[in-house]
């Protein structure tokens, strides 16, 4: 057991040291090999549980996919996705319950229409529309969750780095 207690002021501790804790996988990124950043929004009831099932089944998917838990896929504001792109994300995937199975009855139907609209607008502003994907994963579909994530990560890798929307002031 190791205990770390804070001694210096928060500001002083913030900047440095952080790189020292990054493993080789992250270090590779700084060396130039393209490891895309992918944000996955998962609804609490189906897809987040599906991601847990993937873990229970030890079905692996790339580390560069990070999951954000939302109560329902209908909670995902298109602005969150644009924000992710602004901050340098290369792909965003939204997962919800299968149509008809939404815990809140209709949330995923809104997601479906909203995201169809967003994707068509991405196309309009010149961001590859393949960078945003919507899929449905139920709580028992762990293997399917991993499969979807692997496919999406592969797709984003071939699409390359997202620069169209990135705010270069946000770049590290």
């Amino acid at each position: 057991m190791s205990v770390i207690e804070r001694t210096a002021s928060p500001e002083a501790m913030l900047e440095k040291d952080t790189l020292a804790y990054l493993g080789p996988a992250e270090a590779k990124k700084s060396e130039g090999e393209f490891v895309p950043k992918i944000v996955a929004f998962c609804c609490n009831w189906c897809s987040y549980a599906g991601a847990d099932s993937a873990g229970n089944a030890r079905a692996s998917y790339p580390t560069n996919i990070k999951i954000i838990r939302v109560p329902c896929s209908g909670r995902v504001n298109p602005l969150f996705i644009l924000r992710a792109f602004e901050k340098g994300a290369d792909g965003v995937i939204i997962c919800g319950c299968h149509p008809g199975d939404c815990h809140y009855t209709t949330g995923n139907y809104y997601t479906r229409r909203r995201m169809a609209l967003l994707i068509s607008m991405l196309d309009y502003i010149g961001v590859d529309k393949g960078r945003v994907e919507v899929d449905w994963v139920s709580a028992s579909e762990g293997a399917r969750f991993a499969e979807i994530m692997n496919k999406f990560a592969d797709k984003i890798r071939t699409l390359g780095r997202n620069v169209r929307l990135e705010d270069i002031r946000c770049r590290n």
Binding site: M1, S2, V3, I4, E5, R6, P10, M13, L14, D17, T18, Y21, L22, G23, P24, A25, E26, K37, V39, W45, C46, Y48, A49, D52, A54, G55, N56, R58, Y61, T63, K66, I68, R69, V70, P71, C72, G74, R75, V76, N77, F80, R83, A84, K87, G88, A89, C97, G100, D101, C102, H103, Y104, T106, G107, Y110, R114, S138, A139, S140, E141
Partner: protein, 664 residues
């Protein structure tokens, strides 16, 4: 500024093997607001919880991040620890570094950086967390049990015995379900209806139980403790309070050629019918599809012969509205359609039957009065072949069968072969099996008894083809995999142990109750190990084969478990409500009604309110959220054009902060 404590769990080696936990704890100290970071073997253990409690005291923590397993697993545990030590339970965030990190990545080089990112994301969120207060809602002290089979009966009796009111909704005209159709039960050979009917009578006579037979759940709204349910009570065309169940109408009804569903279509019934003598309630239903009166307006014999004038063609369907605190789903199973198995002769020869049809033939209340005879010519069979695993254990892409083992077939096949030998002296039974699976008390002994005492011939191997012969026999062609030789048997009857599947009525019901179901239409539990009878929807429980294949004792045990869970809920006077609800910002709201239109719960209403904006006083139309109706889905937050709506616990700023942190 928050004072945040970060607690990193090893989970034995579950996390520690692929994530360098001390590095995660070390990295945490660089995060804004973090004043304390530690790693420990098992955070959920008592010692781990004490560690958190001590840290709260020593460092004056105002918020907590636990890097451990899924929040679906232990969020409640850590929230409780926080609450007990004076920290608001909603100031706790979980970074899921087990299911979504250590278990899906292979080594420390991959796992550690991701765990650090997840930790940072949780810290970013907790920094913006606000203390939330749970509301309170009253509990309606009445339970609803959907399904009147042995699972539903047992659940209802257990809840009623605890002193709470229970309603049973059964779509058939009588309770009893599948168990009423069975002849004997394994491994004790108890008569199924002899042990079931006393329970059915108990249900009918229990002061706390109301029965809605020939009824269906039409609509469900509300939430845990306060479900509003509409029940469609279909018209029987017979007044229940007047009918004495004498059955004269059945003997006189001229419409006699309707396949009898209770006997799986092996014989015929009349249009006005009681399925079996012990039916509860013992009141017939007029089948409007086949009744001459309803088709042509003529006949009317049953109304004329009824000694108590109970038949009334004018009775209409009725919708009953009732409030419930808890709901137990026990809709049971059905056998799959075997017509797809053409090579086994089902639907080709009358003497190839399903195991459930064979139960009816063996049953004393069945179409043959308990005499085992061939359906084609009524002769007693001397040689019977049983085929197991028909449609069970198939690959996922198989168009005919199910992927799972139906669990009960091995045992009921042994039972049916024993009973056959008992009924027909000198009969020879053959069982084609793939594996004989007999885990259970006295199960293997029972199977050995079939082999050793009754000389049942067990043949390892599947059957390729069943061909009807001109002499009325059936030629069964298979192989004996142990002897490596072909087997060709000319037999009198073939019984197929078809796979079981959840009753098809669960699909629409699951949608009404927003339950999650798996690829085979079985209900998903809230947690496979720790919450085996709770559905993911709070206040809904499950019992019996709706959850997965199981036999009668397991069903009864599960029914008891579901009843206790329901009673534990009903015993509470008040329930704490989810405080993560939507909240409008009065200054941004322009009263456009978009949020109310997307709200699935009707939780949003509008008020006229006087507000001061830039020194101007004016009356505005503003959205208002009813926190006891809002379930926190967040649909309104995205729909709001002016961004006035926010969701507590998942605010726009919090999710943005998470996005920023993930993208760093």
């Amino acid at each position: 500024m928050q004072r945040i404590g970060v607690f990193v769990c090893h989970c034995g080696t579950n996390i520690a093997a692929t994530v360098d936990v001390s590095k995660v704890a070390e990295a945490a100290k660089h995060e804004p607001g973090v004043v304390y970071a530690v790693d420990y073997t098992f955070m959920c253990s008592e010692a781990g919880q004490n560690l958190i409690a001590q840290a709260i005291k020593d460092y004056g923590l105002t918020a907590i991040v636990v890097c451990s397993c899924s929040p679906r697993m232990h969020e409640a545990t850590f929230r409780k620890v926080a609450e007990e030590n004076g920290v608001n339970p909603y100031m706790v965030e979980i970074a899921n570094i087990r299911e979504q990190c250590s278990w899906v990545h292979k080594n420390m080089d991959e796992g550690t950086p991701k765990a650090i990112t997840l930790m940072k994301t949780a810290v970013a969120k907790v920094n913006l967390d606000a203390p939330l207060q749970e509301g309170e809602a009253p509990v309606t002290k009445r339970a609803l049990v959907i399904g009147g089979g042995i699972a539903g009966i047992q659940t209802a009796l257990d809840i009623a015995d605890c002193g709470y009111k229970v309603d049973i909704v059964e779509k058939e005209q009588t309770i009893g379900g599948r168990m009423a159709q069975l002849d004997k039960t394994f491994p004790t050979l108890d008569c199924s209806s002899c042990i079931l009917t006393p329970r059915m009578t108990e249900v009918a006579q229990h002061p706390n139980i109301r029965l809605f037979t020939y009824s269906e759940v039409q609509e469900v709204s509300g939430f845990v403790g306060n479900f509003d349910v509409k029940i469609l009570k279909k018209s029987r065309s017979v007044r229940e309070k007047d009918c004495t169940g004498c059955g004269v109408c059945m003997t006189k009804c001229p419409s006699k050629k309707i396949p009898n569903e209770f006997n799986r279509g092996l014989n015929f019934r009349t249009a006005i019918n009681i399925p079996f003598a012990q039916a509860i309630p013992n009141v017939p239903v007029i089948d409007k599809e086949h009744c001459i009166h309803f088709k042509t307006g003529k006949c009317g014999i049953c109304a004329k012969v009824c000694p108590s004038h109970a038949v009334d063609y004018e009775i209409q369907d009725e919708v009953i509205e009732e409030k419930y605190g808890a709901i137990v789903v026990a809709t049971g199973f059905d056998q799959i359609d075997l017509h797809k198995f053409g090579e086994l002769g089902y639907g080709v020869s009358k003497d190839v039957i399903s195991s459930l049809e064979y139960e009816r033939i063996m049953s004393a209340t069945g179409p043959t009065g308990g005499h085992i005879v061939r359906p084609s010519d009524g002769k007693e069979p001397k040689d019977i072949v049983f085929i197991q695993c028909v449609g069970s254990r198939c690959e996922p892409d198989d168009r005919r069968g199910k992927t799972y083992c139906s669990k009960i077939c091995c045992m009921y096949t042994a039972k049916q072969s024993i009973m056959t030998c008992d009924h027909i002296p000198g009969a020879k039974c053959h069982v084609f099996y793939i594996d004989v699976r007999t885990p259970g008390k006295m199960f293997d002994e029972f199977y050995r008894r079939a082999v050793e005492q009754y000389g049942v011939d067990y043949i390892k191997g599947n059957v390729g083809k069943v061909t009807p012969l001109p002499n009325g026999k059936l030629r069964v062609h298979g192989v004996d995999l142990l002897d490596q030789k072909e087997v060709e048997l000319d037999t009198d009857m073939v019984v197929l142990a078809g796979a079981i599947e959840p009753n098809p009525s669960i699909r629409p019901l699951a949608t009404k109750l927003t339950l999650s179901i798996d690829n085979n239409n079985f209900l998903n539990e809230a947690h496979a190990k720790l919450h085996p009878v709770e559905a993911a929807t709070a206040g809904v429980f499950m019992a019996g084969t709706v959850q997965g294949p199981k036999d009668i004792p397991e069903t009864v045990a599960q029914a008891g478990a579901a009843a206790v869970k329901a009673v534990a809920l009903l015993a509470k006077d008040k329930l704490k409500t989810n405080p993560c609800v939507a909240q409008p910002d009065e200054l941004y709201c322009n009263g456009c009604s978009v949020c109310a239109n997307v709200c699935p719960y009707g939780a949003i209403t509008y008020i006229e309110k006087e507000v001061r904006d830039h020194g101007v006083r004016e009356t505005r139309r503003l959205a208002q959220v009813n926190p006891s109706l809002c379930k926190g889905c967040g649909a309104c937050t995205v729909a709001c054009p002016s961004g006035a709506m926010n969701l507590k616990g998942f605010t726009n700023r919090q999710i943005m902060a998470e996005v920023d942190s993930v993208c760093q």
